[in-house]
Symmetry: C2
Subunit: 340 residues, 2 copies
């Protein structure tokens, strides 16, 4: 077994940089779009056979170094008795706004949390090349709370931020409960076959450095520590939050995933040699075709030392991306070996 991604997360040198792509099982793939003409996103996520097939789709096309389970970030909240629709982002029919809404939430046992995702992981694991790492994932407590409080993705999340400042003890209570949910969920994913997990604390960038460190960071630390205690390797991703990088660097993770707003090489200088850094091509470069993609990928590889670098985009790959751009990215990474 020779999983480049896991070697890099353990701080070991590799024959070349591992590569995977956020949202690699998504709408830029014609075979995914074709399946989506028959099944809605919700239906796909709820059917382990189909979700496993979607998880495998990018691996059948490209020699990527990780598969990431196809699931929605809201999957675990069904176990809290919360209904989520998609239109197309998550919509919560009854957002959590009051103390009662939050106090009444159950503390479900592990086996009740997104069992369909756990089954999907088992199916993928059985099929996946042993050299390809399998990733589980969860949103972080702040990002889950964002949707549960706001009721939907909304620019600036005003209701969430109003609660953060006006009723901080309420939000704190909610996030504590979500940490317990996410910890069980992530550990269950590892037991079902995930080699590592990525925590998407996507909406972190809404907050200032001080507010994030006070409101979000303690909960994120509790979550990451619980997952670490279970022996599960962890990657942390914050979106559009270049101001929070230094705030995250003392959290217990094996890798930091950052977007193109952050200079990877300079972060690498500030973390231990055994911690990996993941990213961070601007997905828009792939829109511009294989030549632009190859040039941007070469720039990235030249700029960032190979050791400890997991090549990825800075956000999810965009639906309009040509397949040829992904091929060009793969080619540059494979050709580079451990060099540049």
């Amino acid at each position: 077994m020779n999983q480049l991604l896991m070697q890099t997360l353990r701080g070991e040198p590799t024959e070349r940089r591992p590569l995977w792509i956020m949202r690699q099982a998504g709408r830029y793939l014609p075979e995914y779009r074709s399946l989506r003409r028959q099944l809605s996103f919700v239906e796909l996520c709820s059917r382990p056979a189909e979700a496993a097939e979607v998880t495998m789709m990018p691996l059948r096309r490209f020699p990527l170094d990780a598969a990431i389970v196809f699931a929605d970030i809201m999957s675990p909240v069904a176990a809290l008795g919360i209904d989520v629709d998609f239109a197309p982002g998550p919509v919560i029919e009854s957002p959590l706004r009051s103390a009662n809404d939050i106090h009444d939430l159950p503390d479900p046992p592990s086996e009740e949390i997104a069992p369909e995702v756990i089954e999907t992981l088992g199916r993928v694991k059985a099929e996946l090349d042993e050299n390809v790492a399998l990733l589980g994932f969860s949103a972080g407590p702040w990002t889950l709370a964002a949707y549960l409080v706001e009721g939907q993705g909304k620019r600036g999340f005003p209701t969430l931020r109003s609660m953060a400042f006006g009723a901080p003890e309420l939000l704190d209570d909610l996030m504590g409960r979500l940490v317990r949910l996410c910890a069980k969920y992530l550990v269950a994913q590892a037991r079902a076959g995930a080699d590592a997990v990525q925590v998407f604390e996507t909406w972190s960038g809404l907050l200032s450095q001080g507010d994030w460190s006070r409101i979000v960071k303690p909960h994120l630390r509790t979550l990451l520590e619980a997952v670490a205690e279970a022996g599960v390797p962890r990657i942390l991703f914050l979106q559009e939050a270049p101001h929070l990088v230094d705030q995250t660097l003392d959290l217990p993770v094996d890798g930091f995933s950052v977007d193109w707003r952050v200079d990877l090489a300079s972060v690498m200088e500030r973390i231990p040699e055994t911690t990996a850094i993941q990213g961070n091509l601007d997905p828009a470069t792939l829109l511009a075709g294989p030549q632009v993609t190859a040039a941007a990928a070469e720039d990235l590889l030249r700029h960032v030392p190979a050791r400890g670098h997991i090549v990825n985009l800075g956000h999810g790959i965009m639906p309009q991306t040509p397949i040829e751009s992904v091929e060009a990215l793969v080619e540059v990474v494979h050709r580079a070996g451990d060099g540049y």
Copy 2:
């Protein structure tokens, strides 16, 4: 005449910090909402008498230190022969995508550029207390290009970013033309009574440090230099772009306006004593009511030295904001004098 805002932009000490609020003439004011029940946003912007009245609304309620002309950021593009609808954000019926679309744009004389805004400024100037500074504004070339190329505000602006990487010479041509338009527009606003202007390069944060410095910064510099040559004081605002602060610090401006993602005091240490810094309360703190607002404002004033600080929010005030929160902010700033 004792304009605290202009004194601060000139680097002079003041008896207390100046205060104004981005979007201070907006939907959180009941009198504005009442007027909007009779007139659409487009109608309001197109009628100088009404736009002047809206500009004055917040000044009739609060002892603010600046008025900012009520206009839309797309106002100057009508002079390019481009129609803009609002639904509710700007929508361009025929987005600019090809070389022909861009080559065919006219280079209008100053007097054809948003004459309704120029007339509004004259009306406000005639009525405004001489101790209150009058601000004009424009979007920057990247932000105007964002709407003109994308066709509307769209998360991530994929078409714009695709052009930035795939057809950079096209975007460069467009931005050069927009710089000429904005420079004439801003100078005309000053001649009509604006004491200073603010350039909103709102969508800067979409780009990495390297790409922003290569694609946007040269055009922004040309614009700011042209306005500086005409003797017009300049404030530069970038939204959600904490990673670009250091890239902007050598641009020719009198003040930098930043959001709450940026630590004001640390920026102040990196700029000349004569350059002002503006911001940066999180508007969400005002949603949480006057007590939370007062506490957040006191924290800000304690943290940031008074000299060179223009108090403001980090983004526009939110529609749901209680009037009492604005009163609390005014009270804290006035009570502090030149202290804290």
